[in-house]
C-alpha cells in the first residue's frame, strides 16, 4: 500500500517549462489519470516520478520518501514504447524481467496470455503487446504503477480489456498513475488531472471537473459573421454535424447573437468541452 505525492513539481528545459508547479496525490487502490495532448507534460511528469529526470523545483515522494532516495523496486512502469524485447517470446520476456527483479515469473495463464506464451512479441497485435507489457511491469508486484498511454492505438475491445487489468491491479491496493490523450478514458479513472502546456488546468473526479460547466447548443441557420462575432466575444465555437456548440459564453449572449435564424439552448458540457473551457 503506497501513496504517490507530487508537490509543486516543475521541470524546465532551457527557457521552456515542460511541467509547471504540478501538485497531486495518488492513494493506494486509486487510478488517477493524467490527461492532455501530446506535449502537455504528461511523460515529463512520469519521468520525474520514476527518477529518470530531476525536478527543477518541487518534489515527488512515494510514502514520504523522496524519489531519489527510493528503492525503485516499489515501482512498475510501462513506457509508451512498451519496453519489450520483440525477438523474445512472451514467456522469455516475462522470465527475463522476473529474473532481473529476483522474483519467480508469474503465471501467464492467470493473466489470460497462456495461449500466446510461446509467440515472439514482435508477432503479436498491439493490444496483446500492451497486455504483455503490463504483466511484465507487474511481475515484481510493485505498490506503484506508472503507465504512459497504455491504451494508445488499441481498438475499443482491447482498450476495455486493458482497463479491466488496470482496475484489477488497483483492487490489490496498488497506486496507479496513467496518462492518456483519449478524453473518454477519464471515465475509467477515480480522479483526473487535466494538463495543458505543463500546467494543471483542472483536477478531481469527472463529475467535479465538469461540475456546472454548461455549453450552448445552437440549431438552425447561423451566418459565418455571427460565428466570428461569438469568437470575438471570447467563446469557443464548435461545429459538428448536429449544429453548433458554444463554450465560454452564457445563453443570453449566444441566443441574442444567433437570433433570428438560430435557436440556442443551454446543455450540460461534455468532458471534452469542459477541458476546452478550462484551457481557453
Amino acid at each position: 500500500m503506497s501513496t504517490i505525492q507530487a508537490d509543486g513539481l516543475t521541470r524546465r528545459f532551457g527557457d521552456m517549462v515542460a511541467v509547471d508547479s504540478l501538485t497531486f496525490r495518488v492513494g493506494p487502490g486509486e487510478v488517477v489519470g493524467l490527461l492532455g495532448a501530446n506535449g502537455a507534460g504528461k511523460t515529463t511528469t512520469m519521468k520525474m516520478l520514476l527518477g529518470l529526470l530531476s525536478p527543477t523545483a518541487g518534489e515527488a515522494r512515494i510514502d514520504g520518501t523522496l524519489i531519489r532516495d527510493l528503492d525503485r523496486r516499489v515501482m512498475g512502469y510501462v513506457p509508451q514504447g512498451l519496453g519489450l524485447y520483440r525477438d523474445l517470446t512472451v514467456r522469455e520476456n516475462l522470465e527475463f524481467a522476473a529474473a532481473a527483479f529476483g522474483v519467480p515469473a508469474p503465471s501467464l495463464e492467470a493473466a489470460g496470455l497462456g495461449a500466446v506464451s510461446g509467440r515472439r512479441v514482435g508477432e503479436l497485435s498491439l493490444g496483446l503487446r500492451r497486455r504483455v507489457a503490463f504483466v511484465v511491469a507487474r511481475c515484481h508486484e510493485p505498490a506503484v504503477l506508472i503507465l504512459d498511454e497504455p491504451t494508445s492505438g488499441v481498438g475499443p475491445l482491447g482498450r476495455a480489456r486493458l482497463w479491466e487489468t488496470i482496475h484489477e491491479t488497483a483492487e490489490t491496493g496498488a497506486a496507479i498513475l496513467v496518462s492518456t490523450h483519449y478524453m473518454d478514458e477519464a471515465e475509467e479513472c477515480d480522479r483526473v488531472v487535466l494538463m495543458a502546456d505543463g500546467r494543471e488546468v483542472a483536477a478531481g473526479t469527472v463529475d467535479e471537473v465538469v461540475g456546472n460547466v454548461r455549453s450552448v447548443a445552437v440549431s438552425g441557420s447561423v451566418p459565418d459573421a455571427v460565428v466570428e462575432e461569438l469568437h470575438r466575444r471570447g467563446g469557443t465555437v464548435l461545429l459538428d454535424n448536429h449544429g453548433w456548440r458554444v463554450v465560454g459564453l452564457d445563453l443570453a449572449t449566444v441566443a441574442g447573437a444567433v437570433a433570428p435564424g438560430g435557436t440556442a439552448t443551454e446543455v450540460p458540457a461534455t468532458f471534452e468541452e469542459a477541458f476546452v473551457s478550462f484551457s481557453s
Binding site: 495532448a37 502537455a40 498491439l126 481498438g155 479491466e164 490523450h181 469557443t236 477541458f275 484551457s279
Partner: protein
Amino acid sequence: MTWGLQEVTVSFAGQPALRGVTLGLDPGRISIVVGGDGAGKTTLCRTIVGLESAEAGDVSRPARTCFQPETSGVWSDLTVEENLEFVAGGYHLDPAHARSRIGELLEATNLGPARDRLGRQLSGGMRQKLGVAMAVLSEPDLLVLDEPTTGLDPISRLELWSFIVGSAREGRAILVSTSYIDEAQRGDSVLALDEGHVLASGTVADVLASMPGRLFTSAGRITPGSWHRGHSWRTWSPDGSPLAGATETTPDLADVVTVAALAEEGR
C-alpha cells in the same frame, strides 16, 4: 455511392491488410474510418488515393483527389504561407486565384497570425490544420485525411473538425481516419475496422441499430465476456435474454463496436 471501395482486398507479402472492404464516398458527406493500430486505416486511405493496389475488388475516386498522410506533409523549413504557395504552384493555380484561396484558408484555419512562422515552429494542432489547408487548396472533389487529430489537444481537435465539416459543406467528399471512437459520431457514416475486417459500417444511427441482442450494465462482472466501462460493467446478451443482476442500457458507438469485436472473436 459516388466513389469508394467495393469488396476490396489488399495484402502485403501474402498477409491481408484489408479483407473485402466496402466503403461509399459521396459529395458533401464525411465518412469516418475508425480502428486501432494495425486495423487497416492507413492501407484503406492509401488504397482509395491509389498508393496501394487492390488484389480484389473495385476502387473508384474522382480525378481531383487529395491526401493528407498521418505526418501532415508540412515542410518544416518553409513558412505557413510558403507551404501553401508551394502547393499552389504544384497545382499550377492561377496566381491571383491562389492568393485569394490562400487568404481564405488562412482565415478559416485561424493560421493568419502565424503565416510567417516556419513549419517546424508550429504546434501539432497548427501543423495538422496547415496540412488540411494544403490538401484542400486545389479544391479537390475528394479529400482523404489519415489520422489528422491523433495526439492533438481538445481545442485543436475541435477546431480541426470545424474546418473539416466546413470543407464538406462546400460539397466535398471527405474521408477521415481516426483511432478516437468518439470522433466517429462527427461523420455522416462510419466504418469500424479490426485487423482488416469490417466490424460495423453505415450511418451512426444504422450502426447503433445494427447491434444484435441487448446490452446490460451491472456493478460487477456477469460473464467472462463482460467488459469494464467507466465505473460499471457491460455484458452483451446475443439472443437478447435478460441477465440477472443487470439492467438494460442503450448502447453507444463504443459499445456497438466492442460487441462487434466480441462477436468476431467468437467466430
